[in-house]
């Protein structure tokens, strides 16, 4: 395998997190984002010869991800899309100036914050996300009402986010 291909695969591998985050933002849905990421990876590979070594990989890759996301939205029924075109553009362009190196730091903070949650809240989060679950899973296993589960989950996520932000703020002092 020529070096340029190796470099390319290397760059692609290390951009997966960035691309996934970008697509989740554009599509508002984890499953859809995973599908579009796979399609994007294939397109990127097809286009790898067009990539100039030394150029910035992530912005280049995001461009293709953006078009894949648009194609995905277009192929769906009209009523199932989340964002209007102008909002998509805004969301996409916001990404240009975000330093994704911060992501790792945030992810580590999340681990700490999860561990600080009271047992019951951690259990709810676990039920919701484990095995790619859903609200229904939580409702089935806890016997709680769907509406109250939703409220609880929203509250817990907000707490987690606040916790992450405070940790990041501390580490930046």
């Amino acid at each position: 395998m020529p070096n340029s291909e190796k470099d390319f695969i290397h760059a692609l591998t290390y951009s997966q997190n960035d691309l996934m985050g970008y697509l989740v933002g554009l599509l508002g849905n984890l499953h859809d984002a995973k599908d579009v990421l796979q399609a994007t990876n294939l397109v990127l590979w097809e286009k790898h010869k067009e990539f100039r070594t030394g150029a910035e990989f992530r912005p280049w890759a995001r461009k293709f991800a953006y078009f894949q996301a648009l194609a995905f939205i277009r192929d769906r029924k009209r009523d199932r899309h989340v964002f209007d075109d102008d909002v998509l553009e805004l969301l996409a362009s916001d990404y240009g100036d975000v330093n994704s190196a911060k992501d790792d730091e945030r992810e580590l903070a999340l681990r700490d914050c999860l561990n600080q949650l009271p047992e019951k809240q951690r259990m709810l989060i676990k039920l919701r996300y484990e095995e790619e679950g859903s609200i229904k899973q939580v409702v089935d296993q806890t016997g709680a009402k769907a509406s109250s589960v939703k409220v609880s989950l929203m509250r817990i996520r907000n707490e987690l986010q606040a916790c992450i932000e405070s940790k990041i703020a501390l580490s930046n002092l």
Binding site: M1, E5, K6, D7, I9, H10, L12, T13, Q16, N17, M20, G21, V24, G25, G28, N29, L30, H31, K34, D35, L37, Q38, A39, N41, L42, W45, F72, D75, V82, F83, D84, V87, L90, L91, D94, D103, L110, L114, I125, K126, R128, Y129, E130, E131, E132, G133, S134, I135, K136, Q137, Q141, K150, L153, M154, R157, N158, L160, Q161, I164, E165
Partner: protein, 521 residues
């Protein structure tokens, strides 16, 4: 909290609804409006979606590295596994796929480390040939061990006992009789230290070079045999066609045609000898030996099988044998304790010619079974061939849904094998199911010891991971599936195995390491 939120207070509610999939059209309009009018709202939206994604990654054991493996249907046919959306695309190359899987795998290994590792030095996954037959092979100390159908990389092979057939990617076919030591130089060249071999070279592979200690033999369209003994005395016998004999400096010394033979004596000279090519093992005889070998193996296996059937702790034994292809209920010779039905999966051939197996190919293929009781300790044992990690996870034994104390046994997309007991925890294997394991039969087993809470993972009889389950629960095995996962509330979760199974055993005790090794053999 007296500080006012910098973003619109209605936003969190909308994001919450989006994440749970129940955003209605009014919500949608409002969400668009909020994001449109204020970058702070967009920043909040992005943070909350990142959190959503990390929570999902954290709890499913997926990481961002792994996303990539989903694009790698190394052996999958697109019409059965690909989602319709990009079904028509062909995957770039198997080589790429292999390289990517390797990188993803390496990445997982690295996750605990902070300094970057040069993944790209690990490039030589591809081989120059394939080991297509092996009969009673015992490998020497100078070479790694390979299994049948493994790709063979450049490098030295040493065989102490047995016979092998090696198909080069150039098309040349080498049959070897042990003892032998030789080096695969490329897909059209080998160097022999000692051994007896026969080489068939079809037209596309013409020019194949066999380097000996004293001279090189260059094929000119032929089948020929050669040997080098341990003292360094070499012989060449041409069965058909022509070869050129070159001195070590490249000069052509002789041409040999059909029926001609030559020996390089220790004294240094060449001499013409009687053709003895028939004394070298060729492809037909290797095939005959292989089939006799498999027959013996089948008999051994049947004896072993009878012992397990008599074991009072055996709850389920599916041997995938003697089933005509139209039968869908799966016989469990161990009584009617567990009923099972095959859905979609097709009958095929297992570890050796004549051994039955079930192929799991489409995302609907599964074996449904019902046990319906509680267990303390248990063992799962499975002979299986995984063809790809095209999906997120490969189901082995999965309880329907995942109610309290039920069991999930699966291989995740990076090749780590996990046993999870709902609400109690999970234990993962350390050794990874690697790209080189794809497409080959492996024995996997996992044991759970109720007394200690200990879970032990095995591959091919070796321990590949151990850990404890908190609280030592008794496990509930009610309805479950082999090779797939039934989830009532599921919409798009795919856990279908892509591969084949030719034996499954479920015992209600934790087998010892020695017993697991017996199952492996």
């Amino acid at each position: 909290m007296s500080k006012p939120e910098p973003y619109d207070p209605r936003l969190d509610h909308l994001i919450g609804k989006l994440q749970e999939g129940d955003l209605d059209s009014d919500d949608r309009l409002l969400l668009n409006q909020l994001l449109r009018e204020d970058p702070k709202n967009r920043q909040r939206y992005r943070s909350m979606m990142d959190l959503h994604r990390w929570l999902s990654n954290y709890h499913t054991g997926e990481s961002h590295w792994n996303q990539m493996s989903a694009m790698l249907p190394a052996r999958t046919s697109p019409e059965t596994r690909g989602r319709p959306w990009y079904r028509s695309r062909q995957i770039a190359t198997i080589g790429l796929a292999a390289a990517l899987i390797a990188m993803v795998t390496l990445n997982v290994i690295m996750m605990g480390r902070s300094e970057p590792v040069d993944l790209l030095s690990q490039d030589d996954l591809s081989g120059v040939a394939i080991l297509t037959e092996s009969v009673g092979l015992v490998w020497g100390d100078h070479s790694p061990e390979f299994n049948m159908n493994d790709a063979l990389p450049r490098g030295t092979l040493e065989l102490n006992e047995g016979y092998a057939q090696i198909d080069f990617f150039s098309g040349a076919i080498l049959t070897v009789e042990a003892p032998a030591q030789f080096e695969l130089i490329d897909n059209d060249a080998i160097h022999i230290s000692y051994g007896k071999m026969r080489l068939f070279v079809p037209e596309p592979a013409q020019g194949f070079r066999v380097e000996g200690p004293e001279f090189d033999t260059i094929d000119l369209g032929t089948e020929f045999a050669f040997s080098v003994d341990r003292e360094g005395q070499s012989e060449v016998h041409v069965l058909n066609g022509e070869v050129a004999i070159h001195a070590k400096d490249g000069a052509t010394l002789f041409h040999l045609a059909t029926g001609e033979s030559l020996r390089h004596a220790l004294s240094g000279g060449f001499e013409s000898i009687a053709n003895a090519a028939k004394n070298f093992v060729g492809r037909e005889s290797i095939l005959d030996m292989a089939s006799a070998h498999w027959q013996a193996k089948h008999n051994e296996w049947q004896q072993e099988r009878a012992k397990w059937l008599q074991d009072p702790d055996t709850v389920i034994y599916y041997d995938f044998e003697d089933q005509t292809s139209w039968q869908t209920p799966l016989d469990n010779p161990q009584s009617d304790q567990a009923e099972a039905a095959i859905v979609g999966a097709r009958w095929s051939e297992g570890r050796w010619a004549g051994k039955g197996a079930l192929d799991f190919k489409t995302i609907h293929d599964r074996v449904r079974l019902r046990v319906g009781r509680e267990f303390k300790s248990f063992t799962f044992s499975m002979h299986l061939r995984v063809d790809s990690f095209a999906d997120r996870k490969n189901a082995l034994f999965m309880s329907d849904d995942f109610p309290a104390n039920s069991v999930h046994w699966q291989i995740n997309e990076t090749g780590i094998i996990g046993l999870g007991i709902s609400d109690a925890g999970r234990v993962h294997s350390e050794v990874l199911f690697e790209p080189r394991h794809l497409g080959h039969w492996r024995h996997l087993a996992v044991t759970y010891d109720y007394e200690t809470g200990q879970v032990t993972h095995f591959m091919d009889g070796e321990v590949i991971g151990q850990g404890r389950i908190r609280g030592r629960p008794k496990v509930q095995i009610q309805s479950a599936e082999l090779g797939n996962w039934k989830k009532t509330s599921s919409n798009r979760i795919i856990r279908a195995l892509n591969g084949s199974m030719d034996e499954f055993l479920f015992l209600e005790r934790a087998l010892s390491e020695e017993e697991v090794r017996r199952l492996h053999q």
